[in-house]
């Protein structure tokens, strides 16, 4: 059974954590602060992509506004830590303290709020069969951005500033592991199998006695919860929450990660989250080296917005040449619970 699997996943994560932590120690300084932040972003996108994969890849529904839930998580947790409790930023050397525990609680509360919004959106739209969820979530992503732009209490279009930097590498690692274990255990239980069967054939699933609406909503809410956690961590990493961070483009980015990694493969989402986050950082710095073109009186400057064009091309190439994504539906051994007896 799964006696050896949880420890193996745990050991891998701890090893990863140990290596990164050691390499980024001041005395070693192989990984500087910038690289560390990139790795932390990667892990947050692991949370966001794998939770979207639950909705799009495992239940087979099509959600396009995943970052909207991340926004709820970010603003709720940011409001708690910054505006209500006015927590001071933690000392970099401290591993665990009372404010850090409060911060983790705030992240969970953010996740719960995101899940609540997920229920509100998922329940009416998932009762219908077809593409309604895509339309509703696309609208939701825009609505949440507009609402946040107009609430002065959380900074309006300026964003929520001065959020203490609580998201340490350790804490992000912890949450990422938590989300991955949650999703893995979900896939390998009766409830997860019910969700997979909806993707495979909704009518047959219903006629196997699965309450398809309930399981679609359940998966969607779990996905929203994880996205809320991811958003909260992101806000406490960048020390700000801004409406544009959670607009359509970032949602599309997470969607691309899911498709690039492989629908229904958690491993794929992890691999794609790392690859695409690092790629986007690489492109961002590479673009600075592209000279400014001058054609007659016209000046063409390649800006960072072109990163999205690269993604679009990438997505087209994946759809043309490797439809199933990097991993297809396969999983790494670490993420499979064998049930041979």
């Amino acid at each position: 059974m799964d006696k050896f699997n949880l420890p193996r996943l745990l050991i891998t994560t701890v090893a990863f954590w140990l290596i990164v932590t050691l390499l980024s120690l001041d005395s070693v300084n192989i990984l500087n602060g910038y690289v560390l932040v990139v790795i932390e972003r990667c892990l947050i996108f692991v949370i966001l992509a794998s939770s979207l994969n639950l909705v799009n890849g495992i239940i087979g529904q099509f959600s396009m506004g995943h970052m909207g839930f991340a926004a709820v998580g970010a603003y709720v947790s940011g409001t708690i830590t910054t505006l209500w409790l006015k927590l001071p930023p933690p000392d970099p050397g401290v591993w665990i303290s009372f404010p850090i525990l409060i911060f983790m609680g705030a992240i969970i509360v953010g996740g719960v709020f995101a899940a609540g919004v997920g229920l509100l959106i998922g329940f009416p739209s998932l009762r219908l069969k077809g593409d309604y969820l895509a339309i509703v979530t696309l609208g939701f992503g825009e609505i949440i951005r507009t609402i946040l732009n107009n609430i002065d209490y959380v900074g309006g279009p300026r964003g929520l500033l001065g959020i203490p930097k609580f998201s340490s590498f350790t804490i992000i690692c912890l949450f990422a592991l938590l989300v991955i274990v949650l999703l893995r255990n979900l896939v390998h239980c009766s409830h997860g199998r019910a969700m997979l069967s909806i993707r495979e054939n909704e009518l047959a699933s219903e006629l196997c006695g699965v309450d398809t609406t309930r399981y679609k909503v359940m998966g969607f809410v779990i996905g929203a919860f994880c996205a809320g956690i991811g958003g909260g961590l992101l806000a406490h990493l960048l020390t700000l929450a801004h409406p544009t961070q959670f607009g359509f483009m970032p949602s599309a980015l997470v969607l691309i990660m899911v498709y690039a990694g492989g629908m229904g493969s958690i491993t794929g989402s992890i691999v794609a989250a790392f690859t695409l986050t690092i790629l986007s950082e690489g492109l961002r710095s590479a673009i600075d080296y592209i000279p400014v073109f001058k054609i007659g009186a016209m000046t063409i400057r390649i800006g960072t917005e072109w990163v999205m064009v690269v993604y679009a091309v990438l997505l087209i190439l994946i759809m043309l040449y490797r439809t199933e994504g990097i991993m297809g539906m396969r999983e790494a051994k670490l993420l499979i619970i064998e049930d041979k007896q």
Binding site: L186, G264, Q341
Partner: protein, 258 residues
């Protein structure tokens, strides 16, 4: 014998098209009941109405004395009616074992929390579900394919897998929609034996749609012939097969014994 399924005055229209018209029949508990008729005569629609995929325009459906008209399909399945499909609806990317375990899902008691934490009670229940599923897989002679993705199975195996999946919901009545479609004569022989076993060993009442007359004549104890949603004949298969109206409508004039 008590009536297990009772359909009374059921009609269904697709817009102006009359698919099933004033349909009344009873399926006694413990029989193998055949529903036959030419293409487009409303057989599959009848199945869709009984399993709640459509709601009848008129009429009522009773199962075990309780009215089930208009209930949601999954509730009807949980109440004890399972079915297979004419054009297979298999969960292709899941393993054979998982296909069957999905059908055991609704009776699993472990909640989301104990499943996600993999508590000992959950693991115990998983073992039981797995054991039950494996028993059905063995019954269908699929044990060598248990861990294969269902989409890689040959057609005849898929037909049996679908029957196994229907049986995994622990039904009292199973509806088989053309179970022998696409099977070779030997597979059909085995299927007939299997259908009898389903009834005899598992005490499941069988209602089947079939074009394969040999199968109908061999296994069905009662048949009902319909055409354009209306009943032409009903009763013992051997008597019905010689009914002139049946010969004309279904077998074609002089086409008996095909």
């Amino acid at each position: 014998m008590s009536k297990l399924l009772s359909v009374q005055g059921m009609s269904h229209y697709f817009g102006g098209l009359k698919a099933v018209s004033d349909f009344t029949f009873d399926v006694p508990e413990g029989v193998i009941y055949g529903l036959i008729g030419p293409n487009g005569s409303g057989k599959t629609t009848t199945f869709n109405l009984i399993t709640g995929i459509y709601t009848p325009t008129q009429g009522r459906i009773y199962f075990d004395g309780k009215e089930i008209t208009g209930r949601k399909p999954f509730r009807i399945v949980q109440g004890g009616i399972a079915r297979t499909f004419q054009n297979l609806r298999i969960f292709g990317n899941l393993t054979v074992l998982d296909n069957i375990r999905v059908a055991r899902h609704y009776s699993v008691k472990s909640g989301l929390f104990s499943s996600l934490c993999r508590l000992p009670r959950f693991k115990q229940e998983e073992r039981e579900v797995r054991e039950e599923a494996m028993r059905l897989i063995r019954l269908m002679n699929l044990e060598t394919r248990a861990h294969d993705q269902a989409k890689n199975l040959p057609y005849g195996d898929l037909r049996r897998l679908e029957i196994a999946r229907a049986m995994a919901t622990k039904p009292r009545l199973v509806l088989l929609d053309e179970p022998a479609a696409g099977m070779n004569p030997r597979e059909t022989e085995n299927l007939m034996a299997l259908i009898r076993r389903v009834r005899d060993e598992f005490k499941i009442t069988v209602l089947l749609i079939e074009h394969h007359m040999k199968l109908v004549m061999n296994v069905c104890e009662r048949v009902k012939v319909i055409d354009f949603g209306e009943t032409i004949a009903e009763g013992d298969p051997r008597i019905v097969a010689n009914d002139p109206k049946v010969l004309e409508a279904y077998l074609g004039r002089g086409g008996a014994g095909c």
